[in-house]
Amino acid sequence: MFVGIVLLLATAEVWAELVVVVNARSGVAAMSRNEVINIFFGRNRQFFNGIEAQPVDLVDSHPDRGRFYSALVGKDLADINAYWSRQVFSGRLQSPPKMRTSEEALKWIVSQPGGIGFIELAKADARVRVVYELQP
């Protein structure tokens, strides 16, 4: 029984891991870490099949945002915001829209042909496909 509880806790941790998901109908299967970075930092705005990538982010106050960028590039949110201020004020890009909850982010991903975002594995449903798992 003790072993059972330990296994259950370990599984619970896995379900709380963050994964990158895309709209299941986008035609995108798996992505490499660099590809994910290029999309979320707005450097590459298209998937390999030509569909425009539409990344969605979370607000700073949502704990998943800090966890995501820390796991993806090892950066603090201040560095991410500094990066976007450079893009915005040199007229290059706007940052991805920021949702207040994971549910809103999921709704966005499903509503855009090239929707891509990050979410806890437990919250991903059949309308999205997992393309990358973040290593903590």
């Binding site: 490499s32 660099n34 590809e35 970075i37 290029n38 450097r43 590459n44 705005r45 298209q46 390999f48 425009e52 990538a53 700073d60 590039v73 090892g74 950066k75 603090d76 949110l77 201040a78 560095d79 915001n81 500094a82 990066y83 201020s85 450079r86 915005v88 004020f89 040199s90 007229g91 290059r92 706007q94 829209p97 709704k107 966005w108 509503s111």
Partner: protein, 404 residues
């Protein structure tokens, strides 16, 4: 020599975009298009800064568009900046942007100026075409020099950027991104007419109408970014030194000197290489440039810097080193001309030590020491130099940078 009253063609474009900006701001309120991002956004950035040096023999400026600078007393003009930007997404592929900046400028005021005012059209997601007033990207990060929140140091290393007092052009640019495996190749080309004034002693040098063209190629490989860039500038006007020359030199020599020091119709070339590593707690930058000045009034120069920052919690201490040196020209004709030409000389190295503290969301505090060690002949980067200038001084800077 002061052209403040003329409405040149760039000035007309300026007025058209000012009206556009006014219309955007008055007519539109923030609203959403279904679940998309808002169509209209107002954002801004700024810096409150204070700087002092250990020398009263020169005045330290952020760049050569500033007529006066800091010496042994704390000075809040040099680094304090406020910028406001309005973005209007007209359609998924078309966007209009207007940005105005207020900073200490050539006429000693903080009069706001239009820094960006353009239409952007994206026929495909990785291709961007812009036309209007655009920031110039002669060197990496040159088009975001005023956004303190976006970089590590208090100000972009002066040694690297002294030779670049111009910030924007009225023209067009095109940028294309091409994936190469999971790396990216990016290229940009730009062309336009510069405008503006550069403070020179008590006068202003009008750089309106000078044509600029250039481009760069970037390669993003994971945490590394490499860039090679080239730009070309053909000055339209001469320096406002004609009356100085006429009053100090007898006639045949004055005319000869005016011709010798002419900048109108001369061409300057700017070459640059850069490498940035950005991953985890590390930020490393290396930049090199070479400027080939086509007139006798300016000296060709080489400059560069290295910078390393390492984040520890909410503080990022950094260490940097920059250098700039220019080649003295041989034929100085006579002592008056020689003195004017000596004004263009730079020969110095700077050590930089500081830290950035990300205090709150969207606010950063920075403290920095610059140890400038150069020759007494290195006077190009400064204002109001006296004969007692030793070429060496320390600069202490404190800034608060924010975005909203």
């Amino acid at each position: 020599m002061l052209d403040a009253g003329n409405i040149s063609k760039p000035g007309l474009i300026h007025r058209v975009f000012s009206c556009l900006a006014g219309a955007l701001l008055i007519g539109l309120a923030q609203h959403s298009l279904a679940d998309d991002a808002p169509a209209f956004m107002l954002q801004g950035f700024g810096t409150l800064g204070a700087v002092r040096t250990t020398s009263n023999e020169v005045e330290f400026v952020r760049d050569l568009s500033q007529p006066r600078g800091a010496s042994q007393n704390w000075d809040a003009r040099v680094d304090s900046i406020l910028g406001l930007q309005a973005n209007w997404r007209i359609s998924p592929q078309l966007e209009a942007v207007v940005q105005a900046v207020s900073r200490y400028r050539y006429d000693r005021t903080f009069t706001p100026e239009l820094s960006w005012a353009y239409l952007k059209y994206e026929p495909s997601p990785n291709l961007s075409l812009r036309a209007g007033r655009l920031g110039t990207e002669f060197f990496m990060m040159a088009d975001s020099r005023l956004v303190g929140y976006s970089f590590l140091t208090v100000r972009p290393p002066g040694d690297f950027f002294w030779s670049l007092p111009f910030y924007n052009i009225d023209g067009a640019d095109a940028a294309l991104t091409v994936p190469v495996g999971d790396h990216l190749l990016r290229g940009k080309l730009f062309y336009g007419i510069s405008h503006g004034q550069i403070a020179l002693a008590q006068k202003q040098w009008n750089i309106d109408g000078s044509e600029m063209a250039g481009g760069y190629v970037d390669y993003q490989a994971g945490a590394w970014l490499f860039r090679a860039s080239y730009a070309n500038l053909r000055f339209k006007h001469d320096l406002p030194i004609e009356d100085v020359l006429q009053s100090y030199l007898p006639q045949p020599f004055a005319a000869q000197a005016i011709e010798h020091l002419g900048t109108g119709n001369t061409r300057s070339h700017y070459y640059s290489l850069g490498a940035i590593y950005d991953s985890g707690p590390w930020q490393l930058q290396l930049m090199l440039n070479h400027c080939d000045q086509g007139s006798n009034a300016f000296e060709s120069s080489d400059a560069g810097y290295v910078l390393a920052g390492y984040r520890i919690g909410s503080v990022t201490p950094f260490l940097g080193y920059s250098w700039a040196s220019s080649e003295t020209r041989g034929n100085t004709l006579n002592p008056v001309v020689a003195m004017i030409m000596a004004d263009a000389h730079v020969d110095q190295k700077t050590s930089i030590v500081g830290a950035r503290w990300d205090l709150l969301r969207n606010i950063a505090l920075k403290a920095q020491w610059d140890g400038i060690r150069g020759e007494p002949t290195s006077i190009f980067p400064y204002r109001q130099e006296t004969a007692g200038w030793s070429g060496k001084m320390d600069v202490f800077s404190l800034t608060m940078d924010f975005v909203f």
